[in-house]
Every structure is written in C-alpha cells, then in structure tokens.
Amino acid sequence: MAFVFPAFAYIVALISDAVLIFFSIFHVIAFDELKTDYKNPIDQCNSLNPLVLPEYILHIFFNLLFLLSGQWLSLCLNVPLIAYHINRYRTRPVMSGPGLYDPTSIMNADVLTTCQREGWVKLAFYLLSFFYYLYGMIHSLIST
C-alpha cells in the first residue's frame, strides 16, 4: 500500500466533491427562496453568480487529475458534466461580470424550474460520485 498519484487524485476529488455538494445545496436553496418570494432576484443573482465559475473550475480541476493519473472510468463519468458546464457558460446571457444568472430573466418560470432541476440533479450526481470517489480512493490505496 503506497500513496500513489491516483490515490492522491481521488483524495482531492473527494474533498472537492464535498465542496461541490455544498455549492449545489446552496444553489437549490437559493432558487427555492426565489420561488417563494423570499429574495429579490437581483440580490440572489449577485450571490449566485460569483459561485458559478469556482464550481466549474473545481470540477474541471480534479478531472484533470483523473486524466493525468489515467483514471479513465472516473473521467468518463465526469466528461458529460464538463461538457454541459462549458456549453452552459458559453451560451450564458450577455453580462459583464462572471456568472450565469441574469436577474431580468431568472424569474421566468421556465428558467426557474430548469435551474432548480439542475441543482437537484447536480446534487444527486455529486453525492453519488462522492461515494464512488471514496471507493476509488480506497481501491487505489489497497491495490498498490
């Protein structure tokens, strides 16, 4: 049992994934607040937008580690989400700052439900992958 690079990648992924889980919980809560009128869309967008890029970067970062360590299966599992993220950011509304959410269009019921669903799906994905990374970490620690 040795501490190898794949194991390191999984450990980083595990920690990052925990952070991502928090991000998506925050996301879900924020949209729920919007839906129930507790928050103003301008404020809400101001608090959500700065978190978008860190989330994406974090996710891409540990996948980069997977790539370098040759964890193809883990990478494959994450590639669709990376692609989705890139596309999402590419098609974001015109805005000067970073972020995705535009206070003028976010109250549209379609956008609101899409974002909320996105939050839940990502939360589930991160949760599942958390356990997978845990398994992957132990597996790579044991197998070597």
Binding site: Y38, K39, V94, P103, M107, A109
Partner: protein, 1170 residues
C-alpha cells in the same frame, strides 16, 4: 403580496424610516410572514429606503397634499379618470355623471332612464344537453304552461352560463335619448338585444321539470351545447333577415327560410297577459322595479331583504326551443308604428360594395364594459354575412350558402343555426374568402354562469384572456394547442372609474386578494375569496351603504359592483411618503442630432406643455444635454439665467453641484422657459460627433436617485463615448432577415440593463425617443427602458424638414408629456389556485413570481402574461385573475387600481376552441415569438407561428367528425387566426426577404411586447376602408357627431379599385390612397381639385372643403384619431406616387417576392394539419 407591496414601517409622516435596507427579505417582512397567516410581501420599496433617508428633504412639501385626500371623506367618489389632470370636483358618493357609462349611472339610482322592465330571458336549450338553473327569480310567477308545447324533449338540459347582455344597456339609453320609444336604432346586434329589455311582452317560459334548484342542476353538468337566448323582440323579427345585425348572428345561413322560421320559433306568445301589448312606458311599477337595480338586465342579484343572491336564488325560467317547423305561430304581432322606423334604421343602403356594417360606436367614447354582451354575439367574426357574398363581387371561388349547407349536412339545420347563434359556427377557410367581419373585430363575450351575470365585467380593452373558457386540466389545454395567457392594459385611460377612499380595504387574509364582484358571500358577515377559497370576515363598515345609509347588504358596494376599481390607499401602502413628480430631460446635442433639427421642435413642444406636465406643486424638472461631454443646467432662482456646467470626465460620472439641478418647476418656471428658448439657439452649430449616452443616463440617474421619477432620453446616434459605448454591428447584408444573426437582436453589453435595474431600484424609469438616421443599436439601448418600465418611441430617419415626421413627433411628444403617469408602482397579478403565472411580457422588472416592478406606469403600456395550469380545476366553476396596480399619482396620492377578470371553466375541447379569443391569442403569440427570436432565432419563431395555426386546426379537426379532407375547418372564434399570423409573418418584426433595418426590427419587437392588444392588432393588420362612396355609407352617432361607418376590407390589392379612394389606418398613420381613375366629382368633393392629376401628391392633411363628402371624411378621420392615444398623422398617397409602397406593403394578403399570399399560406398550413 398584493400589488402594493410595501410593508409599512414608518409613521407615514414626512421623515421616512426605511423598513429595511436590503432588497427584499427584510427581517421585518420575513418575520411577519412567519407569524401571520397572511402572505406578507417582501418589502418592495426598500430599495428606496437607503436613499430615502437622504431624500427626506425632498418631501418637505409632502404634507401640504394631505389636504385633498380629506376633501371627500368617506368613500365613493367617482372621478373622471383620464390623462388630463384629474378633475377633483367633489361628486356625491357613487355618483358619476360625466360619461355614458350607463352602468354606473344606473347603478347610481337613476331609474327613470329605464322605464321599461328588465327583460326576462327565454332560455332555449339545444338537444341532448343538460340545463342549468337560470335566474329570473322574480318572474317565476309568470311562468305559464305555454311552454309545454315545446321542448319537453329538451328537459334537463344544461344551460351554459349565458347571460343577458348587460351590454346593450348603454346603447339602450342612448336610444332613449334620441327616440324615447326605444325599440329603435337597432343598428347592431347589441342593440338587437336591447330589445329584450325593452320588450313589453315579458315572456318567461319554463319547463316544469326544469324549475329545479340551481344547485341540483349545477352539478348535473355534462357536455354539450348550452344555449340560452334572450327574447328578441317580436317587433324586430320580420326584418331580421335583412338587417346586418342578423347577419352577424346568423352568418352563412344556408337558406333564409329555415333561419327565419327558426328565429320566429323563439318568439313565444306573451305569457303575462298583463303585459302584452302594453306600451312599455305604462308598465306597472312592480315590473319596473327591478330596473332600479344596477346593471342587471335580468333579475336583481340581491333581493329586497338584502340577502345575497345566488345561494338562495330560486330556479328560473327556461324554455326549450321549438323545433322550428314554421315558427310563425309563435310570433307575436308587433306594435305597428315601430316598424317603419326600424326599417329605416336597420336597412342601410345596399349599394355599398360591402354590406353596410352593423354599426357599433367603437371606442369613441370608449365602450363601457357592458358593451360586450355576455352572450352569443359574434365570435362569428368569420361568419360571412350572406349578402356580402353577392356584393363583394368578383370572388369566384366563393361557396354559396348552399354549398356550405351541404358541407355541414351532418348537422341539422336547426343545429347549424344554433351553432351560429352561440358562436359555435365553423368556417371552411379554404372556401371562405371573406373571413373579416364588416366592422371591427370584437372580443368574444365571456359567458359566466348566471350568478355573476349582473356583475360588471372588466373591459376586454383592459384585461382579456386568450381563452374565454379555461380548460379544466392541463391535458385539455395541451390538446387545444392554444397558448393560455392574459393581456392586460392596466393603466388605460378610462372615462369612468370608481374611486374609493375608505379606511379599510377589504382583502382576503390568506392571499391578499381584493374583494371583487366575483366573491361569494357566505352570509352577510363573511365572504369567500374566489382565488384561494378562504372564508374571510367582512368588516362592519363594508355593510354600510352610503347611498341609502343602510346596513346589511354588502353587494351594493362599488367594490362588488365593478370589476375595475380604484382605491385611495391608506398609509399602510407606503414605504415612504409618495414621491413628487420628477422629470429629467436628457437631450442629444451632438452633430447628427442637431442636423435632424429635432431640438427646436422638442423645446417648443415642451415649452407649450410645461404647465400641462402632470404633477402638483412639488413637481421637479431637470435638463441634461450631452454630446461627447455631459452638460448640466443649474436653474437656481437666484440666477438671472440658466447656468451650464460641463462635465468632460465622462468615465466616472458625478453631479457637479448638489442642488439647483433638479428644481421645482413652479418656482423656476421662468428659468426653465429661458433655458428651453435658448437651447436650440445655443446648439444651432454643433460639430461634436460624440454621444455619451451612457454617462448622460448615469447623470440623470444620479439626479433622480433620491426621489425617483422619469428620465426622458432623446438620442439620435449610436452611443460612441464613455461607458455604455456600443459598436456599430449592423450588417447590411443581413437586413433581409434570412441570415439574421440572433445575437444582433440581443444586447451587446449589459451596461444598459444594469443601469435599468439600478434605476428600477430607485423608482426611475427611462423613456426613449430615438430619432436616428443611422444604426443606434436599439437592441442594446432599449434595455434601459425595457427593464425600468419605460416606453420607447422611434422615429427612423427623422428630419425636421419632413412635415410628416415633424407632425408625428410632435403628437407623440405632446401625448407623452401630458398623459397620466403613475410613479413608484408595482403590479401584482393573482390567479385562482391551480393556475400560475409562467412568463411576463412587457417593460418592467419582475420582482418575484407574480410581482412586477414598474418605476413608472403609463397609460399606453400593455402587458402580457402566460399562464400555466398546475392543478386540475375540475371542482370549480370559474377562475379569476386579479391585477392590482399600486402607484403614486402625479398628485402625490397612493392609489391601487384593481381589475378582476372572471372566466368560466370548460371541460371539453370544442368549448375551449370555440371560446378562444383570436386577437388576444395573436397578441400573446407575438410576445412569445419575440422571446423566441431572442433565445433561438427568427426563423424558429416564424416556423412556430405556422405551427400554431396548424396545431389549432388539427386540434379542431379532432372535435369535428366527417370533415372532408379538402377543407380546412376552423371555428369562427379562430377563423381570423391564420390571417393574423400571416400578418405577423409579414410584420416588420418578423418579416424576412424584405430589407429591414435592424433597428426597425428591434423596435417593432419592442412594440409587440408592450402594445395593448387593440393597437397591436391594428399595427399588424391595419384597417382598410373604402371611402369614395362616402355618401352611401351608413352613419352612426357617436357622442354628438355623426360618423360614417365604412365596412372593413381585406388587405388585398383585389379589393382596391383604381376608381376608388381608400383609407388605411394602422394606428400610427392614416393613409388615404387615391386611385388614378377616380371620377372628377370625387376629386372635387374630397380634394377640391378638378382631377386626379391635380391632386398634390405631398399632402398631409385633407383640405377643409365645404362639401358634405369632405366633411364626412374629415369627421371620420377625426373619429379615428380621437379613439387613439396618439392621433395618427394623415398621409395622402396617389397611386402613382413614390410613396405608394407605404400603402402597398401593408396589403399583406397579397403575394410578395418573399411572402406567401393568404391562400398560399393556407395551403401550406393545410399540409401540416393532421
């Protein structure tokens, strides 16, 4: 969260304490939300609150305004509500006398206007349906057995919620004024129904087995036709076949004979012998008593004891329709002396190329709400009046009535008749060329069940829904393939509006709905909210009727009687003292702007309107001009003349001095005038080509941030310096629209949007006047108006040398400056549980799921909302939408205007489709298509249009059996939809193939988003009238004037004759098109010249001639101009003129290089219909 939004957290005096400092979820509002059952609203206005601390100085004057709120103490004045400064004359409670709103005046106890009885109703039910209870409790005693002869076979039929048309009453009274005998002037179908009221022969026909309790029948609903027909006066009967009104109600009758017999079948012998033959003026008092009741054309809603209505209302009379053998037997002889008059009235000359239209005074004065009969009046827009087939000449493929009859031979003749009568008529679009009705298309009536029949309905001009019958489930809505949504014009200028001032505004405790005519009174102390169904207490004072000074009957309150009402809000509805009217004018003085010459026109116009600016003694104004720098003008009253301050550092805008920039208008009137006189001279020569639009807007924002108000930005070239700089990105090769890059329709920067959101937070709206001669990137620039509740005016290629441009600019500006304005407003749309608002369209910022923030609201702004059905609505009868607009009037009063729309539920597809409101659908579609253009692409949006038509026709085909595959059957309620969609496809916003400047396209899209429905329809499908035979056209009396009423023509070149003169009205321009073969007499009588060639081809006004033709034409034009907020300019175009294209491009039914003709379009749709 009610439309009014603001949690009240200060004592309402001059020094506001902010209730919170963050945007919505202030602690206070949140906690109160938790503790109280009511759904408190996040504090809307606390955006202001930070500023309001600083701004308290601006409210020094505030207290002085309290004086008038007290002038009329308790409640119930009715002010004439128009854009003109409000006439504050104190009016006795409930009383209004300024208009023809009969509804009001009758309710206000002027029974002598109606010395006849309310009519009873004959309710006929068509076969195989189930009947519903009907009102007319007071007439039960008159039921006789006569009815047994008909229709026992129709027993237990459900009546649809068809009501007596209150509408007719207004006409009715008009008739009275002119001809006291009243059964006259039946020049339209509404008036046809008025006869039901005038009819001295009250006829109630009730099937014995149908006199069951309402409740019982209520639940026995099944599908099917539900018909109910008011008695049509026998006196008019013999002429029915020839009068236009008839042809409206019974379009395309296959044969005249069956129709007439069928109608006659309605006329039951009088059942009350007391009444028969007696002139109505002599009616016994007992009979006319019910007239004293408000607007009810049926029995009163409340009984004498003041107990409320519908729960206890006895069952009613119903009549089954005879099977129409020959109906003569039922036919009641009429009072002979009335016949000749009717003939004159009802038979307009037939020489017109189109049938003389049934005339309804439209819009001028605005029709009272009740003009829309709740009742089977035409959805048959498409129904071709029988004679128009023969008269409109030259339509070869037109089917005769017989062919139509054959086509529908699976229907019995009677059913066909009834279908027509109840708007269930269908039209074969492939065969029927004349789908357009001869008069303007009206909104379909809303047929509520009878307990609401005497509630005033909200005017369709103000509030309408795409479906007048809401599908009960989402799947049914999906099946109908129609969009569900409402269009609302909340701040429309109204001639008559009840304004109420009271200490407690009665609202539902759970959902904060305002009490409205459609609530249910559980008992005299409780009411049940019609949106959330909570039972609420009724405050003691609500039972007090100030008119009679009695207690006990809440239904007499104006809140219960009128679906549109305005409250003067108590201080709970303010988060800070009402703001003063504050206007900042930001004027472009760069080189291009000066070249266009607008500045002098603008300043002159403003100068003349300075006193007319809405506001009170606190009204403040400021002026900013900009080129590559921003110029402020200090107007301190200590100075002898205005003092200019130039800020060259535009990257970080600041306000050079703290005061004297935004000055009190009345105190500095002289200086303001000096400035306005001086400005055009000062900038006569300007060589600065820079335009710092962004910095100038920031400057205006900084000036107004403390108070809120209105910024008027005039710009004429692309913003090219400072923040908010825009690149010139229009690609002329994309003007055709085919390869249009979707990103060009979207803003290139979010600078203007962010600025708009900041403005919206400080209650500032930015209105744009764009007078460009080149690309200004409206797509980016309009963001500042779109999200701050502003409005956008566009004058492409403006030049002060063109009198036509000048005139339209002046008129728009004049209207803009003088119209009513509401500050710091919010609008909330509530809807019955189970429905939710999906998307909003218009100029505003959406603050929460059902709340719009409108820093300013203007009377010309329309809004659209898409609605989705979340839950099944099977267990309720009606759904309601309530829009509440809370605003600060220019006089510093906080007011709430509430509109309530109530719609019945439909359970089957054909009801839904037949109840569709095509104009409203088109209005909503246009808004959705604009969104689609922004999100995906123009071609997508165009495709979606075609699909909507195809889907609608496919959906309707499902409901029809045995339709021949060659036909394209549409319900009459939707027969114009393909035409309108074609018009949309060729409208500037969505057209392809024709060179369209990007700015024009973007502006047209903005218009689609914010125009009220009637103007929108007129913009896409202008009205075309023949006017060369003006002497033969029928006249209609509107107000005091007689106005000709030409029939509407289809927009097709085949309707244009070179010997004719035509008038096209698209809402902004009236084009008079002169054919080259006009007879000299026409040239003389209209234009005062001997021949066509002598007509000046550059005329912008009709010469004022003394000929009757010219007078009539000018009367007609001024009528058209008066009914619009901004009077359209007149353009006279000879058919050999270079401007001919202006006219020809609007003939949208013709084939163009790039667009289908109407027939081709139908062919294309037909392929798609499955």
């Amino acid at each position: 969260m009610n439309g009014q939004s603001c949690t009240y957290s200060d004592s309402g005096n001059g020094t506001p304490t902010p209730s919170s400092t963050s945007y919505p979820a202030s602690l206070s509002s949140q906690s109160s939300r938790d503790t109280s059952p009511s759904r408190l609203q996040p504090n809307l206005n606390h955006i202001n609150s930070e500023k309001s601390l600083n701004s308290s100085g601006n409210y020094m004057n505030y207290k002085s305004h309290d004086t008038y709120t007290n002038a009329n103490s308790v409640y119930g004045q009715i002010y004439p509500d128009s854009s003109a400064p409000t006439n504050r004359a104190t009016v006795p409670p409930y009383i209004s006398d300024t208009s023809n709103d009969i509804n009001q005046s009758q309710r206000l106890g002027q029974p002598q206007l109606r010395p006849f009885t309310t009519s009873s109703q004959i309710i006929s039910s068509l076969g195989s349906t189930v009947s519903k209870p009907v009102y007319s409790s007071s007439h039960l005693n008159q039921i006789t057995n006569d009815q047994k002869q008909f229709g026992n076979q129709y027993s237990t039929q459900k009546l649809d919620s068809v009501m007596q048309p209150k509408a007719s009453e207004s006409n009715l009274v008009k008739n009275h004024e002119t001809m006291p005998t009243s059964n006259l002037a039946i020049s339209d179908y509404y008036q046809g129904y008025t006869q039901t009221m005038n009819n001295p022969y009250r006829q109630e026909n009730v099937l014995p087995n149908q006199t069951m309790k309402p409740e019982q029948q209520y639940h026995a609903q099944t599908q099917g036709y539900q018909v109910q027909k008011p008695l049509i006066s026998p006196t008019s009967n013999p002429y029915m076949n020839s009068v236009p009104q008839d042809s409206q109600s019974y379009p395309q009758s296959p044969a005249e004979a069956p129709r007439s017999t069928y109608q006659q079948g309605y006329y039951q012998p009088p059942t009350s012998s007391v009444m028969s033959g007696r002139p109505q003026m002599n009616l016994p008092m007992t009979q006319s008593r019910s007239l004293d009741e408000p607007i009810s054309s049926g029995p009163p809603r409340t009984n004498v004891l003041g107990i409320i209505p519908y729960a206890t209302e006895p069952a009613t009379s119903q009549v089954a329709r005879p099977k129409l053998p020959d109906g003569g037997g039922y036919y009641q002889p009429m009072q002979p002396q009335q016949q000749p008059q009717q003939i004159q009235q009802q038979q307009p000359p037939r020489v017109a190329p189109r049938p003389p239209a049934p005339i309804k005074p439209r819009g001028y004065p605005p029709p009272p709400y009740q003009q829309y009969p709740s009742y089977s009046q035409p959805q048959n827009n498409a129904g071709l009046p029988p004679y128009s087939q023969t008269m409109s000449g030259g339509y070869a493929g037109y089917p005769s009535g017989d062919e139509l009859a054959n086509q529908m031979s699976h229907l019995s003749v009677s059913q066909l008749g009834f279908n027509k009568l109840w708007g269930r008529d269908t039209v074969d679009l492939m065969k029927c060329r004349d789908v357009l009705p001869p008069t303007r298309v009206e909104a379909p009536p809303i047929r509520l069940s009878q307990e609401y029949y005497d509630s005033t309905k909200v005017s369709p001009e103000i509030f309408r829904c795409t479906l007048t019958k809401i599908p009960e489930t989402k799947s049914l809505l999906d099946k109908s393939r129609l969009p569900l949504g409402v269009l609302i014009h909340p701040f429309k200028d109204l001639n008559q509006l009840s304004v109420i001032q009271c200490t407690v505004i009665v609202r539902c405790r759970a959902c904060r709905t305002y009490i409205n005519p459609f609530v249910f009174f559980v008992d005299s102390k409780h009411w049940k909210c019609n949106l959330c169904f909570r039972v609420n207490d009724l405050p003691e004072e609500f039972q007090y009727d100030p008119l009679t000074k009695t207690y006990g009957d809440p239904t007499r309150r104006p809140e219960i009687k009128s679906a549109t009402i305005e409250f003067i809000a108590p201080s709970e509805y303010m988060v800070r003292p009402p703001q003063p009217a504050a206007y900042v004018f930001v004027l472009d003085v760069s080189r291009l702007a000066i070249d266009s010459g607008y500045l002098r026109i603008f300043c002159d116009c403003l100068l003349s309107q300075l006193e007319a600016l809405p506001g009170d003694s606190r009204t403040a104004v400021a002026f900013i001009t900009y080129d590559s720098a921003v110029h402020y003008y200090s107007l301190a009253d200590t100075q002898a003349q205005p003092h200019q301050m130039v800020v060259v550092d535009i990257d970080d805008m600041f306000v050079p001095c703290p005061e004297n920039l935004l000055v009190n208008l009345s105190e500095c009137l002289g200086l303001v005038r000096d400035l306005l006189r001086e400005l055009p001279n000062k900038y006569r020569e300007s060589y600065d080509t820079g335009t710092a639009v962004g910095p100038a807007l920031q400057a205006a924002y900084k000036l107004l941030a403390a108070t809120g108000g209105r910024v008027t930005l005039v710009t004429s070239c692309l913003a090219n310096s400072g923040p908010g700089k825009l690149p010139s990105r229009e690609d002329p090769n994309q003007r055709s629209g085919e390869g249009l890059n979707q990103s060009h329709l979207n803003p290139v920067t979010d600078f203007y949007k962010k600025l708009a959101l900041d403005c919206s937070g400080q209650q500032i709206a930015v209105d744009l006047f764009v007078l460009n001669s080149q690309f200004v990137d409206l797509a980016s620039l309009t963001g500042v108006s779109r999200f701050s509740g502003g409005c956008i005016h566009h004058f492409p290629l403006f030049s002060a040398k063109n009198p036509h441009h000048v005139e339209s600019f002046q008129r728009s500006l004049q209207r803009y400056l003088c119209r009513k304005i509401g500050f710091e407003s919010v609008m909330r749309l509530r809807c019955t549980r189970g429905l939710s608002i999906h998307t909003f369209h218009g100029n505003f910022f959406v603050r929460s799921t059902d709340l719009l923030s409108l820093p300013n609201v203007n009377p010309d702004a329309g809004f659209g909302m898409q609605v989705s059905i979340d839950e099944n609505l099977t267990d309720i009868q009606t759904v309601c939408f309530q829009a509440a607009l809370l605003y600060t009037s220019s006089k510093g009063e906080r007011r709430i205007r509430v509109h309530t729309l109530c719609l019945p539920i439909a359970s089957n597809l054909s009801d839904v489709l037949h109840g569709a409101d095509q104009q409203c659908i088109v209005g909503l579609l246009a808004k959705m298509a604009v969104d689609r253009c922004h999100q995906s692409s123009l071609s997508d949006a165009r495709e979606a249009f075609v699909n909507v038509v195809a889907d609608m026709l496919s959906a309707f085909r499902i409901t029809q059996s045995g339709v021949s595959p060659t036909s394209l059957i549409a319900p009459t309620s939707l027969s114009l939809l393909p035409l309108y969609v074609l018009a949309l496809l060729k409208y500037i916003a969505f057209r392809v193939g024709q060179s369209t400047r990007l700015d024009d396209r973007v502006f047209a899209m903005c218009q689609m988003k914010s125009l009220p429905p009637s103007q929108l329809i007129q913009a896409i499908y202008p009205d075309l009238y023949p006017i060369f035979n003006i002497n033969e056209l029928p006249l209609v009396t509107i107000g005091e004037d007689q106005v000709v009423q030409p029939p509407l023509l289809h927009l097709s070149a085949e309707r244009i004759d070179s010997t004719g003169v035509y008038l096209m009205d698209d809402g902004t321009t009236i084009i008079i098109y002169v054919g080259h073969n006009i007879s000299p007499s026409i040239a003389v009588s209209f234009f005062g010249v001997p021949s066509f060639s002598a007509i000046n081809s550059n005329m912008f006004e009709l010469p004022e001639l003394n000929t009757p033709e010219s007078k009539k034409l000018r009367g007609f034009i001024s009528y058209l101009q008066n009914e619009k907020p901004v009077a359209p300019t007149v353009l006279i175009i000879r058919d050999d003129s270079q401007q001919r294209h202006l006219f020809v491009e609007k003939l949208i039914e013709d084939k163009t290089e790039s667009g289908h003709s109407y027939y081709e379009f139908l062919q294309r749709v037909k392929v798609l219909v499955k």
